[in-house]
């Protein structure tokens, strides 16, 4: 027992506490007096000095916004540029009666209710000292009319601004994207990226497409100007200037003429087309139809146009090439064929007798071939040329879903290609694990069968099909698909070129690859499903037709295009590469509700190839002229 230990004396503690509290209170009052003394010093004794400082001209740092980098196609044709346009701007605080002033203004210059609403929205979102546009893109006549009457409108000025302009509008909306006004969310993101400083004064930022993914390159470096301004905030003179550095220019691999040819070949159909150089992954054409006019978004889209775009049944805002997922249908078969050969489940000579359907052992359910009555004796070569379904039902059954999944995923199915525009989706290559996770159901043998012909749970984007077809064209070498070929650095004048490096190389036996490639050439020859599209071609090309089911056909019923609502008709697919022996171009064509691949998609591909190799401009196909169903 320690004798020093005392039990606590609460009364004594309380007294000591109260004394300390009183001392602290005195301390608080003293420090507040100190603050008050400081305020007295600043606001009474030195008040005159500081008032002079506040009222005298003073220095403000003004940001100088850099010009946004330009975007060119592979031949130097401008795809995104900056136009000088005149805008009419109001500083709300400087106008005594805003509504009256706007009304008077409207007698000189057309101000639509839409303009007015947009201005009111900006006014709510910004401080009253900021200059806000009420009308953009003034005509020369309007500029002149306002200039003559300027004295009547203090606080309202005409400003020259650089406005982003996309000359090809709908044609490239899904590639280039657009820029839009910086939102609060963008500001938060910029702050997180420590980039806020560089956006002082910037009003726009890349929203989708290349404008978004290359924002860092395109924006440029903000400059600064030290200026003297007076009490009213008016600019008196410039003291020093650090000029801005324009954003870097992008040169794309895309060929705008080829893009136009592809667009024309499509006619009125909806769908997607991608053309790529298999030797390096450069995108040559990238069509998603219909598109939309990105110029509408630059200054904030108005309500009506937004509704038209957003609610259109054609879904023009949907980037079908990048984000549209479709069952790959029969275009899946070449990869199945390689799986069968490489995994030892099929030989070149092995053949089946096709009765026109396949049933699992012990089951009544018939998986039907597209051709009633079947194709007779079918080996691997013929199975691709005539696109025999039964052959692949059997092959899928023999391979099993796990083999299919692990082998086919090497071709990029179910994975993003990592193309350099944002928003790509991964599609779906189904597996038992996936089904368990997604539906909490076991994989049934029947699920495997339809996967074999690219239906069932299978989903791919046109971009993925292009990637997979590149692997056929290249005999197994994969390049990352990309749009940007060169970046021109405006800071130091250097040009950085994209260096194509293979992402990976698949190890596939030469003779297996050659066998499949030969069959794909015969697809475009008499007897093949794309024979009509291949007729009289001046070059050899290989391809595979496909049809992607939109609705299920019941057992015992037949697909009849004429009886089905146009929007429920099958999607037509065609994947191709040419010339067949030394491919320079890989193509994927998807025609929504186009019927069969051979009759709709392959002819479009042929026209694009004719332009690519022969410079022949296509004649548009007309929608609804699908011929006999062929797959």
């Amino acid at each position: 027992m320690n004798y020093d230990v005392e039990l606590r004396n609460h009364l004594k503690e309380l007294r000591s506490f109260h004394i300390r509290l009183a001392i602290a209170a005195i301390f608080v009052v003293l420090l507040f007096c100190l603050l008050l003394a400081r305020f007295f010093y600043l606001q009474v004794i030195r008040s005159e000095h500081y008032t002079t400082l506040a009222e005298a001209n003073r220095i403000a740092i003004m940001p100088l916004v850099p010009n946004r980098g330009l975007i060119f196609d592979r031949n130097g044709i401008a795809l995104a540029q900056n136009h000088t346009t005149y805008t009419l701007e109001i500083i709300p605080d400087k106008v005594t009666n805003l509504e009256a002033a706007i009304e008077e203004l409207a007698t000189l210059i057309e101000i639509t209710p839409e303009d007015h609403r947009r201005f009111n929205k900006l006014k709510r979102e910004n401080t009253r000292f900021k200059s806000l546009p009420i009308r953009t893109r003034l005509s020369d006549a309007e500029v002149a009319r306002f200039a003559a009457n300027r004295y009547r409108f203090p606080g309202i000025e005409i400003k020259a601004r650089l406005l982003r302009h996309y000359p090809y509008a709908e044609l490239l909306s899904h590639v280039i994207g657009y820029i839009g006004r910086i939102s609060d969310k963008d500001l938060e993101q910029l702050e997180r990226d420590n980039a806020l400083e560089n956006y002082r004064g910037s009003s726009h930022i890349g929203r989708i497409g290349l404008e978004q993914s290359y924002e860092k390159e395109l924006h440029g470096i903000t400059g600064f100007e030290e200026v003297e301004i007076d009490v009213a905030g008016r600019h008196v003179r410039t003291l020093s200037r650090t000029p801005p550095v324009a954003g870097n220019d992008l040169t794309l691999s895309l060929d705008i003429k080829l893009q136009q040819a592809a667009e024309t070949a499509f006619g009125d159909y909806r769908g997607a087309l991608i053309a790529m150089d298999p030797e390096n992954g450069e995108i040559l054409a990238f069509v998603s139809k219909p598109g939309f006019d990105p110029n509408l978004f630059v200054d904030g889209i108005d309500h009506l146009n937004w509704r038209l775009l957003n609610e259109s049944i054609d879904r023009p805002l949907n980037n079908r090439a990048l984000r549209g997922v479709y069952p790959p249908g029969s275009t899946f078969k070449p990869f199945m064929a390689l799986a069968g050969l490489e995994l030892g489940k099929r030989t070149f000579s092995y053949s089946i007798s096709d009765p026109g359907y396949f049933s699992l052992p012990g089951s009544q359910h018939r998986f039907r071939d597209w051709k009633p009555g079947g194709h007779g004796r079918v080996n691997l070569h013929k199975s691709l040329v005539v696109s025999c379904d039964t052959y692949y039902y059997m092959l899928a059954h023999d391979l099993g879903i796990n083999n299919i999944f692990s082998y086919i995923s090497q071709f990029g199915f179910g994975k993003r290609t990592e193309i350099d525009i944002p928003g790509e989706v991964a599609g779906l290559l189904p597996s038992p694990d996936w089904k368990k996770k997604r539906f909490n159901q076991n994989w049934f043998p029947g699920d495997t069968i339809s996967v074999g012909i690219g239906q069932g749970y299978n989903l791919s984007t046109p971009l993925q099909l292009t990637f997979a077809t590149m692997l056929l064209a290249n005999e197994g070498i994969a390049y990352r698909p990309h749009f940007v070929k060169q970046i021109h650095d405006n800071k130091n004048g250097q040009v950085y070129a994209h260096k194509a490096k293979p992402m990976y190389t698949l190890d596939i036996k030469k003779e297996n690859m050659a066998h499949v490639r030969n069959a794909l050439v015969d697809v475009t020859r008499p007897g093949g499903t794309a024979a009509r599209a291949g007729a009289n071609a001046a070059y050899t090309f290989a391809g595979k037709t496909g049809t992607s089911q939109v609705i299920n056909i019941k057992q015992g019923e037949r697909y009849n295009a004429n009886k089905i609502n146009e929007r429920h008709r099958d999607h037509a697919l065609f994947t191709a590469y040419a010339p067949a022996d030394n491919p320079k171009i890989v193509l994927t064509v998807l025609v929504e509700n186009g019927g069969s691949g051979g009759s709709t998609a392959a002819p479009i591909a042929r026209q694009v190839l004719d332009y690519f190799f022969l410079g022949k401009m296509p004649e548009p196909l007309l929608a609804g002229t699908a011929g006999n169903p062929q797959r």
């Binding site: 230990v5 300390r20 603050l35 400081r38 305020f39 606001q43 500081y50 997180r192 301004i229």
Partner: protein, 367 residues
Amino acid sequence: MIDFNRLWHYLTRYVDNFLLGGIFLLMLIGLVVLYSASGGNLGRISNQIVNIAVALTVMWLMANIPLQQIKRLALPLYIVGIVLLIAVALFGEIHNGARRWLNIGITRIQPSELLKIAVPLMMAWYFDKSEITLRLRDYAGATLILLLPVLLIARQPDLGTALLITASGFYVLYFAGLSWRIMAGLLVSAAAILPLFWTFAMHDYQRKRVLTMLDPSQDPLGAGYHIIQSSIAIGSGGIAGKGWQKGTQSQLDFLPEQSTDFIFAVFSEEFGLIGNGLLLLLYLAVIGRCMIITANAPTQFTRLVAGSITFTFFTYVFVNMGMVSGILPVVGVPLPLISYGGTSLVTMLLGFGILMSIQTHPKLVKT
């Protein structure tokens, strides 16, 4: 039918009306100044109103929790806080060169904010536990409780918060009866350590802030800009001020951070010395009420907690006004109840909720 009298009684049972009135007035002034500082941006105003609503709810909840429950929370809260701080040091997100944020999936949190309440609670709990007269080793133990989080936060680096938590812990030590001699000793040794701290522990930007405070004209476009511009704003306000929304310094965007840390400069410019005096009086009234609650607190634990909360609040006010008027270095401390922002507001009102709980819950009679 709802009985409104009973509902009202239920809602206000544990609320201290005088304190709430003071807080309300200060927050109202905050909104008025914010309107002017943000150039009439109603978005900011509505955000701040949401912040206020959330903070008031937190305050009400705290006020309704009896003291025994709060006391039980002290240790777990402290441990959670320390664990989070360690997590920040290991996996925290870096923003503007400081590792302060922790991403917990739904949102990002700043654990140092939690410690502002947890540290005084924990120290008070620790002192209250002792059955015998406090000895030097008890004070040493409490100091360790304080130093662990402070060092972790200073490392982030977030010197402002570290100093404020040190202050809140120091107030607990002081009210627990730390001898005057030791406090004098601490002061002397602090003065001795300061040069070492200056050379070895401080970051360049921190040293620069102190130097700039001593002579703002040295760096008129960089760190000194804040102080010069806010001094001009305050000084040009004069005795009566320029009037609401008429301050040129703030309206022409010469003031930095004018909705948050420097909002006092906007107030000063527009309402002048008279406004400043009234604002100080209002703060003094709130602090005075808190001191009365502290004096009447029934137990050692509540006294220490109340004392610490009261004087930490005072410290915020003093440090912010001192910084904006150029007598203290620029540290990122908001003006409590007036600056724009939700985090500090919630922490402040949480503290006031505890004070209200201390004041309004039935006091145990000591035998």
